[in-house]
């Protein structure tokens, strides 16, 4: 906490100076009235265009009470829809395939429920692209409700997640995703945690009773709007965490959210980043850059409405990372409705209040380093530490409708010949060289046998027989897809060295 003390000292000295300055020079107080235009935008009907998830091109598989969702995933092919009917399912569902849709069917108010009975780790893990997960109640897991690992083009919506351990919804390393209309509670870290992602919209969710409501961490281009974050320890967070392979967190718009009464006692796990968040934190920006906060209602958060900081103030004791820049830079604070924040701040904030001769904690507090930040109409709020902020040139973020991409992230289009080449070198070349004997016969020998007959090669490598006494029998390569088998057989017949 040395850093905290140092920062505090600097803040105290600055504050005293500024206070004295203000006493002498005064300050303009042309405070405009708030513009109450919140929550007047209705939901869009074409939510997931541009993502591609949920586009069903295959068959529909139904999972009824007593059935297994994982079995259905095992049977499913890309493009299939799995419909899960009401019932309680005790499973960890993993999706290592592309374009799979999991859709709960809610009948007469009865939900399909994934229940980990506090014995299972995660409810749903996905690594495939184009995954859709909707209408499922998930509860009693130890790890995550829904965790994505590098799946792009995901849609996670209308799920009801109660006490699923560390995170509720956690897409990690995904590009182009939508998280909307979920309700999450009872999560010991972040209810919605966007980790190391790009191009994400997080909207119309309700998060309450969690340590952190919504957390955007080491992600780029995220739009967080129309969410209701209440009764958490911290409502909405944007972080850059050091020591991760992605070293930046930037361009996040947090707008039109209702961030209310986030005064829950912190129940985060020891050592976790969020365990350091003081209760009563409405929004927290830590070491993230190019963040715009606009048109939110931020009220009743007892520590501070909006906190902008580096690691030190937050008391986070992570090892530092020479490649992660620790300051919050270029924070744009546009008009927000803020009231009744700072009723019961933590000691560090109280110390600052003393220097400001204020009896109440701040709507907005900025501590630590950072450059290029601005604020519109600061006189509307109780602020600590933003006096050096410029006046913003921007007035609104209307031009940004979404950070989703126009089209789904497409996997690289691998020409068949190229696929054949990659498989030949990645798999076959361990045993076959062009004109020398390795474990198996040389490729030019194989070419002589199977000239113009790729199907002959396919038939053999899927189900090899012991043909040559002076060579070991080849292990079957039946795990390769039909397309890959064809590509590699054709490639093998084409090579010349």
């Amino acid at each position: 906490m040395k850093t905290v003390k140092r920062i505090l000292l600097v803040v105290v000295i600055l504050a005293i100076g500024i206070y004295c300055g203000k006493l002498i020079f005064g300050r303009g107080s042309d405070i405009p009235a708030p513009i109450p235009t919140y929550f007047n935008q209705s939901a869009q009907t074409d939510d997931s265009t541009g993502i591609g998830a949920g586009t069903v091109t295959g068959k529909t598989i139904e999972v009824k009470k007593g059935g297994s969702i994982q079995e259905a995933v095992g049977d499913a092919k890309p493009g299939d829809l799995i419909r899960i009917f009401p019932g309680v399912y005790h499973e960890t569902v993993y999706i290592d395939k592309d374009n799979i849709s999991l859709q709960g069917v809610i009948e007469n108010g009865e939900w399909p429920i994934l229940d980990g009975e506090k014995k299972m780790n995660d409810a749903i893990l996905y690594s495939g692209n184009g995954v859709l997960i909707e209408n499922i109640k998930i509860t009693n897991y130890k790890g995550n409700g829904i965790m994505g690992q590098a799946g792009n083009n995901y849609v996670i919506r209308n799920n009801w997640i109660v006490d699923t351990g560390v995170y509720g919804i956690f897409p990690q390393f995904g590009k182009n995703g939508l998280v909307e209309r979920n309700i999450l509670t009872g999560i010991e870290d972040a209810a919605i945690y966007i980790g190391m992602c790009d191009n994400v919209d997080v909207r119309f969710n309700e998060v309450y009773g969690n340590v952190a409501g919504i957390e955007i961490e080491n992600s780029r281009h995220a739009l967080v709007e129309y969410n209701y974050a209440h009764d958490n320890t911290g409502g909405i967070l944007a972080f850059l965490t050091p020591g991760l392979p992605i070293k930046t967190c930037f361009v996040v718009i947090i707008r039109n959210n209702y961030v209310y009464n986030n005064n829950l006692a912190n129940f985060g796990a020891v050592g976790s980043t969020v365990s350091h968040i003081p209760k009563g934190t409405g929004m927290l920006i830590m070491a993230a850059d190019d963040i715009t906060i606009e048109n939110n209602i931020v009220t009743g958060n007892d520590n501070a409405g909006i906190t902008i900081t580096d690691y030190g103030y937050a008391g986070v004791d992570h090892a530092s990372d020479p490649e992660s820049e620790p300051n919050s830079d270029r924070i744009t604070l546009l008009d927000n409705f803020m009231s009744n924040n700072g009723n019961d701040p933590v000691a560090d904030v109280k110390a600052i209040m003393l220097t400001k001769l204020s009896k109440l904690g701040p709507d907005i507090i900025a501590v630590g380093g950072g450059v290029g930040s601005c604020i519109i109409n600061p006189g509307r709020y109780r602020t600590f530490g933003v006096d050096a902020y410029a006046s913003c040139a921007a007035t609104d973020t209307r031009a940004v409708k979404t950070y989703l991409l126009d089209k789904p992230v497409t996997p690289r289009v691998t020409a068949l010949a190229e696929k054949g080449k990659m498989t030949y070198y990645g798999v076959c070349s361990g045993c076959h060289a062009f004109n020398t004997r390795l474990v198996g016969p040389p490729v030019n020998t194989i070419q002589a046998v199977y000239k113009n007959n790729p199907q002959g090669i396919i038939d053999f490598i899927v189900n090899p027989t012991h043909k040559r006494d002076d060579y070991p029998e080849m292990p079957p390569q039946n795990y390769l897809s039909e397309e890959t088998l064809k590509a590699v057989a054709e490639y093998m017949l084409s090579i010349t060295k």
């Binding site: 993993y94 392979p245 020891v270 390795l438």
Partner: protein, 402 residues
């Protein structure tokens, strides 16, 4: 399957030896292998380019490569060497002539049969000097951005100057290294073949570095049963191994957060709070590299590829089995940290309370990361004339086939 380089290099070696014998005393007919190692395509301009199935997942607009998930691309690879440079690097790698007194080769501590590690808690250098840390595996170093446990080197060329010139490891000097190799006619000849465009008629230091880098970069292991599963063949892993995979990537165990596929390392440094073996002083690790107190006790996250071959584990060889290593992570955050140490332990080190069953499944899973199909063969005979140390000889084809 996939014993490529073994046979390929065997052939090259046999040809080489045969030629040597045929030419009787005429040593100038040594020929370096003109074919690329397995996994590499020979281009028209005599360059070996890596081709892997993971390359089909590269996307122009996708995420940063190499950061997690089953079908994600690898980080940029260090390739583009000629077959001759790679083969020359193989001779140098196994040749103790590179050390001060001709007793220690790179392969002494990076033994092929032990996952290019040495099976010791901490390595032993020249004159039986006991070294501070364990020898890391060399598989897939072509993808790494940082080298050494404390991440103090950023290229293989920079890395190798550590052991080469450390008085406790190979103990040579730049001058001695260059002079020694230039005094060996066979090496003169081989360097000529590997660096035909060189204007100097002497072996240059950077050519030695390039050749060793070329060889080390050819050690590719990306075709394990896990990889077959990742590429879409669900049957590649059995039920218990898939259970292990799901525990591995779950947010309870959190293994995959740092041992991130497809390399099974996120290439960061992390403080996990290990105590040193009894009697050893605390190793500050990356604190010294970055002159950063909060990195005290931080070490590079090692890849888990071929981890079954590289026991004992950690920078100080603390754990002799995978099961013990995994047990460390569930024994409590900071349970080994001395009272007088203030460490900034990584946030993913927590108390996952894994069951014995779960830990056994994790062992099952990480053992599916074994793939030595592209194992190179150690040379039968070294250009220096020094006898090859038997412990550095790679597994023979017949032993792998068992």
């Amino acid at each position: 399957m996939n014993r490529a380089v073994i046979l390929l290099t065997l052939i090259c070696t046999v040809v080489l030896i045969a030629r040597t014998w045929n030419a009787a005393s005429k040593e100038s007919e040594l020929t370096l292998c003109a074919a690329c190692p397995p996994g590499f395509e020979l281009t028209d301009d005599n360059i070996c380019k890596l081709r892997t199935v993971y390359q089909q997942y590269e996307s122009v607009e996708g995420n940063d490569p190499g950061v997690g998930g089953l079908k994600t691309p690898l980080p940029p690879v260090r390739d583009g060497f000629t077959p001759q440079q790679i083969d020359l690097g193989r001779y140098l790698f196994f040749d103790p002539v590179l050390s001060k007194d001709g007793t220690v080769s790179c392969a002494s501590c990076h033994q092929p049969a032990k996952g290019f590690s040495d099976g010791l808690k901490t390595s032993v250098g020249i004159h039986n000097s006991k070294l501070k840390r364990a020898a890391p595996s060399l598989w897939n170093v072509a993808f790494y951005k940082k080298f050494f446990w404390d991440a103090r080197a950023t290229t293989l060329e920079e890395q190798m100057t550590g052991p080469l010139y450390s008085p406790d490891e190979m103990g040579t000097t730049r001058e001695q290294l260059v002079t020694t190799l230039n005094d060996i006619d066979r090496y003169q000849e081989l360097f000529q073949q590997a660096f035909p465009a060189s204007e100097s008629d002497q072996i240059e230091l950077n050519e030695i570095y390039t050749a060793l880098t070329a060889f080390e970069s050819s050690l590719i292991s990306l075709n394990s049963r896990y990889d077959q599963y990742a590429h879409g063949y669900a049957g590649a892993l059995n039920k218990q191994e898939i259970e292990g995979l799901n525990i591995f990537r779950s947010f309870v165990a959190r293994c995959a957060e740092c041992h991130t596929p497809p390399l099974f390392t996120n290439q960061q440094v992390a403080v996990i709070g290990l105590a040193e073996p009894a009697g050893s002083v605390f190793d500050p690790g990356a604190q010294e590299t970055f002159n950063e107190p909060t990195l005290r006790g931080a070490f590079k996250v090692p890849s888990l590829r071929n981890i079954d071959r590289t026991a004992p584990y950690t920078h100080s060889g603390r754990f002799s089995s995978l099961r013990e290593m995994i047990g460390f992570y569930t024994a409590g955050r900071g349970h080994e940290v001395a009272k007088n140490e203030k460490l900034h332990i990584h946030w993913h080190i927590w108390e996952p309370n894994l069951t014995n069953y779960e830990m056994d499944r994790l062992v099952d899973f990480v053992k599916t990361l074994t793939d030595e199909g592209f194992m190179p063969l150690s040379p039968e005979k070294l250009p220096s004339g020094i006898a090859i140390d038997p412990i550095t000889i790679s597994q023979t084809l017949s032993s792998i086939q068992q």
